[in-house]
Structures are given as structure tokens and as C-alpha cells.
Symmetry: C3
Subunit: 341 residues, 3 copies
């Protein structure tokens, strides 16, 4: 069970309510009134808990689970142990996520501007905002209704933030226009100068960075990640894109909708990621490239060329996945040969 010091359980809910809100169908209609008290993975679930199965690999856990009810795809109904209530879903993990959100909705503190926040008199704060202690909101900044600015965050001059956002503790923003329902985690850096300069023997000469950062709705950006503003064009993070911790996004980068960037990725200036691109952890992408829609790049790859839409790549330098795996295999054969000599 989640530690009640940190998480408030809003249950119980009966199975029918859960089915209704999670897009799943109750297989055992006589069990509609059963009360579910919590969510948990199959192996740690207790009496009265709801769990899920989406991979036949875990069928043994399923057989032994104490969960009162399990969300699963139709084709796995036959694996069910006796007595378990079943909720059939086309996307069991999604349904489980929605159920978990019922029990543990995101908490929002009572709307309040802390006496210890530093809010400029020329900033515009929407209705129902939370502005915590030591947050600094500068001249001309606009904060949409229902947005939560955590302790020590700094919102620069004229920055615009939409509705229902949450800006993490110690995050800093400048030169940025942020949509609705955006979440920036603690320590995120948005809008600072990109790494742009003219090389000169007498000392690098800064090229003024005259663009902004545009973050569209429903974006999440992980702790301590950095999004530099554009050099002239804007840097853009598309709607619904999720970025993990410690990621670097260079100036002028354009990221499409629904992309996923895992921790420690770095994208150099002016590169374009179309929609639904997935980059594994520690991937590096060179500047001025185009990564096509739905492309997937394995962890630690180094991308030096454009990637066509839908293609999977891996390796450094990155290659189409099959080709990269052939190289790994060839290298293995080569050393087996060497050993036999």
C-alpha cells in the first residue's frame, strides 16, 4: 500500500465504477458491487486490490495473486485463476493507469499566494493559483488559472504560462511561452541562451539568441533538463511530448507531438523530430538533422544522419537496427575466430 504520509487513497470504488472510468468491461457482471480498496502489481497485491496483466510472461504471478480483480486483455481471460474478478480491456496498462488515477488523483494544494513569494506587481496571476514560498515571478509574467508554482521557481519577465500547469521547485524560465497542463519538474531550465557564438582567435563572440521556447499543451519535462531558447527561430516542444530527466535540447530544435525522450538524451541545434519519435537514454543527435515520424532510436546511439519515418536505429554512429545488429554479430564472430587461432 502506498505510504499514507505521501499519498492519499481516495477509494474504495466498486468494480462497475472502475470499469466505467477505465474503458474496460466487467467480465463477471455479478461482481459489479465488489469494493476495491487499492491498486497494486500482481505479485504484491493484497485482498481488495486491483491489478493488471498484459504480458503472458507473468501468468504465474496471475495464478498466485491475492488481487480481488485483474485488468487483462480478452485473449488472456483463459489464464485466470478461480475467483478473480476480471476487467477486460484492449489496453490493460492504460486502464490500470486510469484506475490508479482514480485512487490517487494528483493532489492540488489550496489555492494561495505565499506571503514569502516574490511576485512583481506587474505580473498577472490567474484564479486559483498556488504560488509557494521563495518563488519569484517577474514583471509582466502571466500565469494561467489553476497553475501551481512550487517553492523557489523563477518565472522571468513576460513569460507566459497557461492553465493548470505545475512548475517544479527551483525551476527557472525565461523567454518562454508555455501552454496548458504542462508540467516542469524541479530544476528544469527553460529559455536560457543557446550555445551560439562565432569563433575568433581573440575570443568567442556571442551571437545574440533572439528566439523563444514554445512548449505546447500536456508536455512533461523531467528534473534538471535544459531547453535552450532559439537563436532566431523558436525552440518548440510539441503537444504531449514527454522528456525525462537531465535531457539537453539545443537552440532551434523542433520536437513534434507525443515524442518520448529518455534521460540524458542530447539534441544539438536546429534538429527536427517529427511526431511520436522515441529516443532511448543517453542518445545523442547531431545538429540540423530530421528524424522522421515514429522513428525509434536505441539507448546510447549517436545519430549523425537523417532517419526516415518509422525506422529503428541503434549504435554509434547509428545505423538501421538490422544492420547494427549484424555488425555486433560480425564482431563477435571475428573474435571467436581469433580465439580459435
Amino acid at each position: 500500500m502506498a505510504d499514507p504520509s505521501f499519498f492519499k487513497n481516495c477509494g474504495p470504488f466498486n468494480l462497475q465504477a472502475i470499469a466505467d472510468q477505465t474503458g474496460s468491461n466487467l467480465f463477471n457482471s455479478d461482481l459489479a458491487d465488489i469494493e476495491i480498496r487499492d491498486v497494486a502489481p500482481l505479485e504484491s497485491a493484497q485482498e481488495g486490490n486491483l491489478s493488471f496483466l498484459d504480458n503472458p510472461k507473468y501468468k504465474d504471478d496471475f495464478q498466485k495473486t491475492k488481487a480481488a480483480a485483474v485488468i487483462l486483455p480478452e485473449k488472456m481471460v483463459g489464464l485466470a485463476p478461480k475467483g478473480a474478478a476480471l476487467l477486460v480491456s484492449e489496453n490493460p496498462y492504460k486502464s490500470y493507469a486510469l484506475a490508479a488515477q482514480m485512487f490517487y488523483p494528483e493532489e492540488f494544494p489550496v489555492a494561495k499566494i505565499s506571503d514569502q513569494a516574490c511576485v512583481d506587481t506587474q505580473a498577472k496571476i490567474g484564479k486559483g493559483c498556488v504560488i509557494e514560498a521563495c518563488a519569484v515571478i517577474k514583471n509582466g509574467a502571466q500565469i494561467g488559472a489553476g497553475t501551481w508554482i512550487e517553492a523557489g521557481a523563477v518565472i522571468g519577465e513576460n513569460v507566459q504560462i497557461g492553465k493548470n500547469c505545475r512548475i517544479g521547485a527551483g525551476a527557472t524560465l525565461s523567454h518562454a511561452v508555455i501552454g496548458d497542463a504542462v508540467r516542469l519538474y524541479p530544476g528544469v531550465r527553460v529559455g536560457q541562451d543557446g550555445f551560439g557564438f562565432a569563433i575568433d582567435p581573440a575570443g568567442h563572440i556571442k551571437v545574440p539568441q533572439l528566439g523563444r521556447v514554445i512548449i505546447e499543451d500536456h508536455v512533461e519535462i523531467g528534473a534538471n533538463s535544459c531547453i535552450d531558447r532559439g537563436a532566431g527561430p523558436d525552440t518548440v516542444i510539441g503537444a504531449g511530448t514527454w522528456i525525462d530527466n537531465l535531457v539537453q535540447i539545443g537552440h532551434n530544435v523542433k520536437i513534434g507531438k507525443g515524442c518520448v525522450l529518455v534521460a540524458h538524451c542530447g539534441i544539438a541545434g536546429s534538429t527536427v523530430l517529427e511526431d511520436y519519435v522515441v529516443l532511448g537514454g543517453q542518445v545523442g543527435v547531431a545538429g540540423h538533422l530530421k528524424i522522421g515520424s515514429g522513428a525509434r532510436v536505441a539507448a546510447q546511439s549517436g545519430v549523425m544522419r537523417d532517419i526516415p519515418a518509422g525506422e529503428e536505429q541503434m549504435g554509434s554512429p547509428a545505423l538501421p537496427k538490422k544492420q547494427a545488429m549484424r555488425q555486433v554479430a560480425a564482431l563477435k564472430r571475428l573474435t571467436e575466430g581469433a580465439k580459435n587461432e
Copy 2:
């Protein structure tokens, strides 16, 4: 045009003034009085804008540009479309950078120590400084004239900062001596203990880290980068070196003048980079190495040995560039062979 919420255009300027301040020569002397209102890249330039060309690859953009004037090298004058005013420069990008600085000089707020800053009575603050809200400046710290400490930055005891520096929001400094015109971006960490300990089965034993961080004039350090202080000797960042975001510099590292370190680089303890070294993104350099003056290391390389001055290396482990490229090619041939078998 740059968003006027975030950028103030100080133009217009006439062409002669621009030529004078950017080290370029006006090719069409009769156009000296033409007024330029803004700067922009060739393809997005509008009437009255100044642009630049330094790569013949963009000659089509040049032919079609709406820019009123273009900075270019002498040898590309022949590519000019009719009617464009030309400024001839030996380093067009540098001249463009200087022109952009005329239109958009770095803004400096009115000098002021915020009532909501926490400045120790024993700190010395020079003339004309800006100290923003929630900045914390401790006992004995010295801040030079004209330096700007942004919101939430923390300046540790006895830290010395020179003139005309800018310390970003939420940056933290301790055990450091900082020169003039240094810029630290938000979230930079300077002067914390290096990763130094004696291994012991009963628990690692910290080796007190008794050195400092010395940052020379005109250095820039990107958002969320970390510079550990020396273990006994100092960690030194040489004049005019530019460090990108999320870079790690270990204890005792010495970096020379004018180096460039791209995002996510990591340099282990006691390594020396001589002057004008360039490291691509995500490069790792092992400890106790010497990287010679002017050496260049490609992105994602892993440097495990000294690099002679001027040499280019790539790969992990890093090799001289030609050798590394031969390996990439050999591996490719090998798998082509495998496919044909």
C-alpha cells in the same frame, strides 16, 4: 522579428555604422545611408533586414533573399543578386554576430539590491550591481562592480566574483574565485567537493577537498553544469572557454583558454586540456590525461589516452579520426560480406 516582449531592438542603424562596428567594408559606397532595422537569416529576412552568407551551400537563399544587405566574404560577391547591399568581411559570421549585438545588446537591469535578497552584512557588493530576490550572499563574499546576481542564486562564504559577471537564477557557488565578465547560467554548481574518497570495506572515507575553483575572465558555463573544486590543487577554467549545459568537470581539472565543451561532456579528475580544445557532445575524458592544444574530439567519444596537440579523434575508445573511420568502414564491409554468404 524577435518577439518584442522579450527582446528590445535598439536599431535602426545605417549601413556605414554597421560596417564600422563589425569590421566589414561596404561594397556599395553609395548605400552608406541606407537604414537597417533588424537582423535575420537569409531565408527569413524581410525588407530592411541585414543577413549574412558564409557557406556557398546557401547561395540559392541568397539569390531569393529579401534582405536589404548581406555580410559575405569577398569571394562570394559574385553570387549577389541585383540590388542587395553588400558588406565584405573576412569572417562574415563574426561580423553578423557583432551586428546582432548592436541591435540587441545584452540588457542590464537598473542597478538594485532587492529587499527580498539575503545579503550578509559582511559581504562586499561593488557599485552598480543587481541582486535579485531570494539571492543569498554569504559572509565575506565579494561581488565586483556591475555584476548581476539573479534570483535564488547562492554565493558562498568568501567567494570572490569579478566585475560585470552574470550569475544565473538558482546557481550555487562555494570555494571559488571568479574573474570578470564571466557568465554562469541557471543551475550551475561551482565549488562543491570533488568525488574523492579512500575505498574501505567499512565505508568509503572522504578525502577532504582542499582546493578551489578558479574561473578566468570571459568564461561561460551552461545551465546545470557542475564544476567540482580541487582536491588540493585548484580546478581551473581558462579565459574565454565556453562550456555548454549539463557538463561535468571533475576535481583538479585544468582547462586552457578558448576551449569549447559541448553539452553532456564529462572530464574526470586531474585531466589537463590545453588551449582551444573542442569536445563534442557527450564526450567522456578519463582522469589524469593531457589533451593537447587545438585537439578536437568528436561527439560521444571516450578518451582514454593523451591526445597530441592539433589531433582530431573520435570513437570509444577514441582513436585518431582516420583510423576510427577506417574501423567504421571495415565493420561495414564485414557485414556486407556476411550478408552475401
Copy 3:
């Protein structure tokens, strides 16, 4: 000598006192009363300094050193120059570390809660704590006796921190239970949501992250590193583990005792590191793996499979060290061949 602006030397101490506190034996018992004024490496040691030797490679420095006394292993006593006082130790570097701690113990400011700190009335602060300006301590947080919360750190609701900890400037904690003598460096992020969501064409759906971060005693976590809280199980950092700067620890990761993780490492969700594992810089470890006790992984490796206890691996994908080195050598031979053709 360490800069007295930043470091206070608590010496002198006589040799016998140093021998007693560092687990070493004074070889020249007649020198017990000699006064030692400072510690320094062999090559920079001055009169009255204590140094150490643990690698015969430095025997020339030893011959020439001005140090008054040197800690060394018994087998190197024969290398000693005339006149040097010798302290014999089984682990000279450990003994040196302990001696350096005598001269330069960690300083602890006078216990005080700053008037400019923001401490919730429902937080519990132990005896002898230091809470600096602009630190924010929320409702229900518990801070153990003798703990030091630096400027601008944010301690979330109900977070528990043990005794004698030090929480760096600008660090942020939520959903966490921290042991005793833990040190978090500036900008560390502990307890934010892990990167957990169900993929859905209409937009990623967050899976509530219902676990905590548990940090056991004597852990150190470097500047700007990020430790995500568990998704259901907790994320755990075992006693005495040391983590360097800019490291990413995903949700549900369990790290054992005494591990060492060098800068820029990233560990994906649900992976287990047993005790005394060492990861070099920029290592990536995929999710759901088990890295056995005492395993060692070279810098920049990419770990995609379990590693048995005690094994050394390197490369991306990571292989047992011998195998990886054979591949490096084979590739080298291959291109030498190519060159000769």
C-alpha cells in the same frame, strides 16, 4: 597550503597523535613529538607537512619530497629518503584521508534557523540544526538533530531526514525518507515522479508514481543528480553508496551498500545493483536488470543484460572485459589489414 579564506587548518598535531588516529604505526618512535602543520601530496609538500605514498610509481617524488613525514605501506619503507619520518599503514590513502580530516574537519556552522528561512509550523526540526536563508521546509517534514539545510533547499511535505545530514543549496526533496549522515549536494532532485506512463495515441497517460525514495545512512549524492521515486515499490539507495554529479536513477531502482556511481551514469527503472558495484562515468544500464555484487563496469558502457557478481564489463553493448578487449584488438587488426592492401 589550502586557501585560508575557505579552509581552516585545525593543526598542528604531533606524529604520535596522527598515528593513533589514522591506524598507522610510527616507524621512528623517537620522532613521536614532531609537529605536523599540514597535509599535502609528495610533490607539493613543504616543511612540516604530512604526505603519503601508495604507488611505487611515485618513488622519485618520495626521494625529493620536503614532507616531514610520509604514510606508506611497510613494503615501501626501504624507498625512504634519509630524515623522513615514516608512518606505516596497511591502507596509506585511507590513513592520509583520516589525517586530512584531522587538519580540516568538516565545518559545521553555529546552529541557527535563519529568519529568512520558510519553515512550516507543522515541521519538526531537531536540536542543533542549521536552516539557511530561503530554505523551504513544508508541513509535516521532520529534520533530525544536527542536520544542515543549505540556502534555497526545499524539503517537501512529510519528508523525513535523519541526523547529521547536509542538504545542499537548491536541492529539492519530496516523498523521501533519508537516513543519518547523508549528504546531498547542491541541486540534487529526490522524490519526483518517475518516467511512468501508458502509451496511447490520444496522449500518454501518467501512471501515478506511488512509491518513495529511501536513502540509507552515509550516502552521498552529487550535484544535480536525480533520484526518481518508486512507481509502487520504493527506489532505494543503500548505506554508504556514493553517487557523483549529474547521475540519473530511475523509479524502483535498488542500489546496495557501498556502490560507486561516477558522473553521468543513468540507471533505468527497476534495475537492481547489489553491494559494492562500481559504474564508470557515462555508463547506461537498461531497466529490470540485476548487476551482481562487486561487478565493475567501465566508463561509457551500455549494459543490456544481467552481470554476474564480481564480473568486469565494458563496451556498448557491454561484454565481459576480456571479450570486449578482444573485439577492440580484432577491429584494430582488421583495419591494419585494410591499410596494407
